[in-house]
Amino acid sequence: MNQEHTGNDVLLEVHNISLSFGGVTAIEDVSFDIRTGEIRAIIGPNGAGKSSMLNVINGFYHPQQGSITYKGETRPQMKPHHAASHGIARTFQNIALFKGMSTLDNIMTGRNTVMTKNIIWQALYFGPALKEEREHREFVEHIIDFLEIQAIRKTPVGRLPYGMQKRVELGRALAAEPDLLLLDEPMAGMNVEEKEDMCRFVLDVNEEFGTTIALIEHDMGVVMDISDRVVVLDYGKKIADGTPDEVRANQDVVDAYLGVSHG
């Protein structure tokens, strides 16, 4: 779909990642890459290790084996702080917003890595810190316009309906001006209309800002529609990798989803 700006340079590559918790293996020897500018979907049945994979990419989990190459730099594991400050932003499967804070403040926290004025100025709430605060506020207002959430700007997010919270969470991730955006089931639990909105936002982010996106999603219609390439995990292993059409035609994938009779 977005082939026209899908370059061939790789933004992130995971090599032979294995991750286990105690005796339970979550990911086993998985490798794939994410190219600059593409929408990359990670799919698979429940418990396939998709969310674990995202957690490895942004440094929440540290794999026992394998390595991650991001922007040409290879390391055995990422650290959350490092990932965030180098342009990886994400949303969560079970929304992780700051519930007591307003929509505006939540999205402002996303600017954390881009705001640099030191604590002394901030404590005095004076000089450069004040100017900086205004500039970032302006940027955040653009995001609010883009996501069409002007009306809930001042509402504490704990009071918002589920679909709106998902949208605010996307806003917070966008506020960091990420190079790589990780979306963990951005459309889960949404009705058809909300899903359509979210699809539109994801595509717009990808096309207008050129942001590379890796997303986990269960809605196959959505996945096949918006992604450039799809990687399929099952029981922690990679069973297929390719364009939506290739994946759809893959017998292993069909078996994994529909079950296979061991007759």
Partner: protein, 311 residues
Amino acid sequence: MGSELMFFFETVISGVMAGVMYALVALGFVLIFKASGIFNFAQGVMCLFAALALYDFMAPGGWIDRLFGITLPVWLAIVATIGVMIVVAWLIERLVLQHLVQQDPIILFMATLGLAYVLEGLGDILFGSDVKPLDLGIPQGASDWALDTLGLYVEKLEVVAAITGAVLVTVLAIFFQRTRIGRALRAVADDHQAALSVGISLRTIWVIVWSVSGIVALVAGIMWGSKSGVQFSLSLIALKALPVLILGGFTSVPGAIVGGLIIGVGEKLAEVYFGPYVGGAIENWFAYMLALAFLLFRPQGLFGERIIERV
């Protein structure tokens, strides 16, 4: 004005002032609880430690005197003590908190209990255990102006404490609401994982919040130290802050102030007007009774976030 009414006003005013002093201590608790969900039992000892260090830096025969042969003027001693409290905060994060990330609140609470004893012992070893009069040049005694024009007896020190408290709270409120670090503090309080994902470093935030509450402890330590001397019983004012917190809510800065005022005024009025009927000295336990009543009817306090837990 009748002397009955005058006496009532004097009681209320002295209650308000005492309340501000309680609130100053409670504030330190609220800051740490807000940002990390830890009930810091060591807060009272931090007040003591800060006051001890401050006194020591200014006194002949103190560490600075022994090391460099000089004593610091008041303002420089305050700056140096702030430095000490920041180092203490950094050490606490390094040696204690860092190793207890993701542990239950009760475990962190126990750690602060241990911390209280360590800090108290350290204060004893470094600065000695005798009672020290803290004199920063804060005016003492009754305000002549209030006595002459209004006929009221008002302690000058308590007025200074009230003004200091008001300034401190205003500054903290702006810091929390309007700045990036303030937002990051609130973010960490809300959701650790989400905070990490936007690049907030938990460790930095914890050092900052413990430093800020160390500075608040210094202010409380100065006020209490000026009032009754720097002595080890100072660490027990932490216990008086507990009912304040229960009233105001553990997570609310304004709550700490209002809670402090209610407790301060409440216990003074109770002492004066109900005390005689039950044999007096109810000032000592009235606050806890009030707290108990609150726990029954409004456990989240006046301003705290409603306690909803998923079962």
